[in-house]
């Protein structure tokens, strides 16, 4: 062995260590650790804040141990574990020194989150010198573990990962599961699983074992179900697909009955955003027009509904909801045309900023005193009647169906989402959808082949607006009132993040995006303040790592990776073709 670690490796090591240290410090100073330090994962053993801090050196160790691209610097397993250990030690030591400094000098005047409880949490309440050693050691340990995970055989790696995910998942769904279990008188199960909002030790071990066992039993490449289905003749496959969809629909229909009001409430929120995302997906995903003022249509839908149905509004006509709905849709469609028409000729990035401007204009107008006599100013419009029954109480043979509040609202929202998804799906495979595809990939070529880009862009805007206004109408009904404060730019950004995470132009992707970005934060109450932070990070990370989204649309994926497959492409000036070097 000539030398233990080469110069290049040392540099790589230092970089990864430094990045890990910065991330750890960031998590502490931005307040994420503080927010989650009391959220138990396994009660009395570990909290979510600790999981976050420990995960950083773990991942850094894993990355440090990745085989280097340089073939001359091949390293053995033990040596790679040492690399992981060193990276972890760097991250731990930096955090330790930071804690040491923070406990002697009061940093709270500037860094508001560095509170004494946080410092005590990080240093385990140990005296500062000892704490430094312990934190550094723990960092090193996690780094080494991460590296060890990488060097170990794939089976073990998968088992450990899936076991850890199982434990985390079970503890995360506590706010969902426990109230429901108690409501249904399964107190014994809930007491066995949970204690003080975290898993009990026994339950966590059980989850770990089950997770690991499942991963060990399920072998990749031994996927019996998939192979059988793929081997089946065409008709059988179609039938299977039909059954699968039917099963899914039934599952979605009985979901609020099984899960109780809390999940129904979450589902209503997810549904509202899903509807918005499906609408924006037509504009962004299909037609390729980045609309950052989409909240305007949401607001128009909500305000039109309020004006038409509320007897307290300035119109005061109090139409029934389902009479008002077609008018609302028409009105929003017209708004879409009005906003769309002037901006059609703009290039993609200008269009984004102009629509952002439109969204802000809408909000300021709704908020302004000038329009107060009509739109109610900051106070908004109250007294929107709900067209839905307050409760459903049905005896169907042996089953007893009972639903209130969100459990009732869930159904129309689900119905609208299903309709919108079906509509968008059929649209994407139609002549119109193909025209949008052509337009998105290359506007000039599309125009040359006879696609009227102006009309198709307008159509996309109008359809997107109509879908968005449906969500707005339901939102108004859900709250019973509308306030301008609900329609800020963050709604547009959230919807955009949903689409980007799931995959532009992909309906399953949009659904997944809505569940992950809207549903999950509801389970983590501490998370509310950091939502937008995470959405921002999601946007950046997705664009850097996987611009086509988690469940990509095939055409879109090809477009986004064109640049990589053909280095020197002759391109025209479209927005979604690789950018030509400016001339």
């Amino acid at each position: 062995m000539a030398e233990l670690i080469s110069g290049r490796q040392l540099r790589r090591l230092a970089t990864i260590g430094a990045v890990a240290a910065v991330v750890v410090l960031y998590l502490c100073t931005v307040g994420l650790v503080e927010a989650f330090k009391d959220r138990n994962v396994v009660t009395g053993v570990i909290t979510l804040g600790a999981v976050m801090l420990l995960a950083v050196p773990l991942i850094a160790g894993y990355r440090a141990a990745l085989p280097s691209r340089d073939p001359s610097a091949q390293t053995g397993a033990a040596q790679r574990v040492v690399l992981g250990l060193l990276v972890g030690l760097i991250a731990g030591a930096v955090l330790g020194v930071f804690v040491l400094i923070a406990s002697t000098v009061d940093l709270r005047g500037v860094l508001v989150r560095i509170s004494p409880p946080l410092l005590e949490f990080i240093s385990f309440g140990l005296p500062s010198g000892l704490a430094l050693l312990v934190i550094t050691g723990l960092g090193g340990l996690m780094g080494a573990l991460g590296a060890a995970l990488l060097v170990s055989p794939a089976r073990i790696r998968n088992a450990v990962t899936s076991a850890l995910i199982a434990v985390l998942f079970m503890s995360m769904i506590e706010p969902l599961l426990r109230p429901r279990l108690e409501q249904l008188d399964y107190t014994a199960i809930s007491d066995f699983l949970y204690k003080a909002h975290g898993l009990t030790e026994v339950a966590s071990i059980l989850c770990f074992v089950v997770g690991a066992g499942a991963a060990l039993l399920w072998q990749p490449g031994n996927d019996f179900v998939r192979r059988t289905v793929e081997a089946a003749p065409f008709q059988t496959r179609r039938r299977i697909r039909g059954w699968a969809i039917a099963l899914l629909v039934v599952a979605v229909l009985i979901l609020p009955q099984v899960s109780g009001t809390f999940l129904a409430q979450v589902a209503v929120l997810v549904g509202l955003y899903l509807l918005l995302a499906l609408g924006l997906n037509i504009v962004v995903g299909y037609a390729g027009l980045l609309d950052l003022g989409y909240v305007a249509f949401f607001a128009v839908g909500a305000y039109l509904t309020a004006l038409l149905t509320s007897p307290d509004s300035s119109l005061g006509i109090g139409l029934p909801f389902f009479v008002a709905l077609p008018i609302v849709m028409l009105g929003a469609g017209m708004t879409g045309l009005l906003i769309g028409a002037p901006v059609l000729r703009l290039r993609g990035d200008y269009l984004a900023i102009v629509t952002l401007g439109f969204g802000e204009i809408a909000r300021v107008l709704f908020e302004s005193d000038a329009l107060r006599p009509w739109l109610g100013g900051v106070q908004g419009i109250l007294g929107i009647p709900s067209p839905l029954p307050v409760r459903i109480d049905l005896e169907l043979g042996a089953t007893h169906i009972f639903a209130t509040g969100p459990q009732v609202l869930y159904y129309p929202i689900f119905a609208f989402c299903a309709l919108a998804a079906l509509f968008a799906y059929r649209l994407s495979n139609s002549r119109i959808g193909r025209a949008w595809n052509a337009m998105r990939e290359d506007e000039s070529v599309a125009e040359a082949t006879g696609v009227s880009t102006v009309n198709y862009k307008l159509l996309a805007f109008a359809l997107g607006a109509t879908t968005g206004c449906l969500s707005g109408a339901l939102f108004a009904v859900q709250l019973g009132s509308v306030f301008p404060g609900s329609f800020d730019v963050f709604v547009s950004i959230t919807v955009l993040a949903v689409i980007i995470l799931g995959g532009m132009g992909s309906i399953p992707g949009v659904i997944l995006g809505a569940i992950v970005l809207i549903g999950l934060p509801e389970l983590l109450r501490e998370f509310v303040e950091y939502r937008i932070l995470v959405y921002g990070a999601v946007l950046v990370a997705m664009m850097l790592l996987r611009p086509e989204g988690l469940i990509p649309n095939r055409g879109r994926q090809r477009e986004l990776h064109q640049a990589e497959s053909e280095e020197e492409v002759e391109t025209l000036d479209g927005d979604l073709v690789p950018q030509r070097s400016p001339s």
């Binding site: 500037v110 980045l290 102009v354 302004s368 950046v540 664009m543 927005d575």
Partner: protein, 351 residues
Amino acid sequence: MRFRLPQRINLVSTILWGLRIVVTVLVLAGSWATLSSGKLAPGDWRDLIVFGIAQGSVYALIALGYTLVYGVLFMINFAHGDVFMTGAMTAFFVARNFGESGFLNSNPIVALLIIFAVSMLTSMLVAIVLERIAYRPLRRAPRLVPLITAIGASLFISNSIRGIYGEQSQSYPTVNALQGRLDLFGIPILKTQALVIVSAIVLMIALVYFVERTRTGRAMRAVSEDKDVAALMGINVDRIIVTTFAIGGLLAGAAGILYALVFNEVDWFMGFLPGIKAFTAAVLGGIGNIAGAMLGGLTLGVLESVGPFLLLGGANVPSPNQLRDVIAFTVLVLVLIFRPNGILGRSEPGR
């Protein structure tokens, strides 16, 4: 821009013409009503215009960052407003410290210079890190990809600052030396506003000198003409792009302090509106054009300060100042629709 009647009446041009007519009528009617009602004395108008120029200088400094980056990368650095915010928020703690220790009033020039330096360096650092992490890997990506990244980065930066420095807005300590008015050629002007205008002018002159006269400035212009050819001429394109971001950051940091001097309050969300408005200013003047950014900033500042009173004051609209953002955004929309190349921009075929 050539005006000609469309050969065939269609929906889009009808709406565009309708928009032109509506805007013209509204502007004329509003101004007429206000001017004939005589609600504001000439002195009020003068104050509004001076305030508009001060505010416009801040916009112009931020707009320069947009324009410089657009010039070399052809991308809208949506996070630039947050680069501006970061500087002002970080320097606040220095300013507070100076204010409490009395250094700010015993030695205002040195103190202000230090505050400026802290803000500018912080913003520069953020801009450099931003370029390295978020934009450099996406140089060859389709055009919307870096824009979406920039939006994400903007949210990430502003919310990180919210987490790190806290949510509440902070007010900068007052500088006694900058209290009161100054008489400039018979025009009374607030000392802070005078400082803002003067420092903006100094920074802009420095920038023009840098771009036009130095070696790096020439390299920047070369990169903005053609990256590939510039690279062939031995210019380190990556380094020049980082330099561009760094200069944009420096100017944004300075703008942050000037903004804090005019408005006193800073918070984590302060970058959003000035960011969009500065972008508007950059587009208004012609994006990619340094003189255009300055002109656009001043124009927008004055329009925004005078506009609400001029257009709405006579019509008895309650609290017209609430609608100033609407005026700024309407200017943005109208400029982008009717004259996307801006006042000084040359027309770029195919864009």
